[in-house]
Amino acid sequence: MKAAVVVFPGINRERDMARTLKLVSGHEPAMVWHAETALPAGTDLVVIPGGFSYGDYLRCGAIAARAPIMDAVRAHAAKGGLTLGVCNGFQILCEAGLLPGVLMRNAQLRFICRDVYLKVERSDTPFTRGYNAGQVIRVPVAHGEGNYIADGETIARLEGEGRVLFRYSSPDGMIDPNWNHNGAINAIAGILSDKSNVLGMMPHPENHVETVIGLTDGRGLFAGMVEHLAKAA
């Protein structure tokens, strides 16, 4: 796996992400500065990690979405290249138009850091082959603006095309407002692009990959991508 982690000023989970990519795939990812205009040759996975690009000023991800490197990211995605945006990365992908919708302030208007349960809706995607459909995984969130919103038509299309990949759920997989900490429509935690090669998600699977630190439920996502890329090659 040749991964590239895009770094914007103010991004702060790039080390967590790089460490996890290395841990799971065995390969050090390339760190790509926002001012670059090209991705390293042969990049097969682009990751936009979490953080506070440009301090979350204006709108989360808005300024980063317009950085020079984003044209290269867009081109990579258009070719069908795997692209993952986590947390601020998800916000950036939405602002860049690579995914529909926006992430608004959490319904309680507070930043929330805690473990949440996610229901994995499908396992037949490049990102989730490490999980079973319907499986519930436990991963942390850490965001103040993760409340996914889109117009009714977009939501209907996302749902109709099976592009909602992760939902906040109870530990036994029930979709329940009490377990939807940020108020997202339909408890949406992660969505796919129309060609299923771009994933944006609010939770941080990269922080749950080591038994010694806690849980390992996030590992399946990275292992799944490695497997997918190995098969594709």
């Binding site: 204006l58 317009r66 319904a107 919103i149």
Partner: protein, 80 residues
């Protein structure tokens, strides 16, 4: 020249912040507020003195960055 760009949420887009503020006002005992929607203003200092040019500049700034036109409307005004 001074100018102002005002960015507001499109009708129909949910505003969690506005909702929370409604609730908070009520619990503070401020009665009579039916609804609140939150937007942004940008007070911008522009070089030069040509109002038409300034307006074009502001539109460009709003389209390219200040507003997310998927969910937001904007209005520009050159104040003088």
């Amino acid at each position: 020249m001074k100018a102002r760009v005002t960015v507001t949420l499109k009708t129909g887009i949910l505003d969690p912040q506005g909702k929370a503020i409604e609730g908070a006002l009520r619990s503070l005992g401020v009665e009579g507020v039916a609804s609140v929607r939150q937007g942004k203003v940008f007070d911008i200092e522009i070089e030069g003195t040509d109002a038409a040019k300034a307006e074009a500049l502001l539109k460009q700034a709003a389209d390219k960055l200040l507003a997310n036109t998927v969910i937001e409307n904007y209005r520009v005004e050159v104040v003088g």
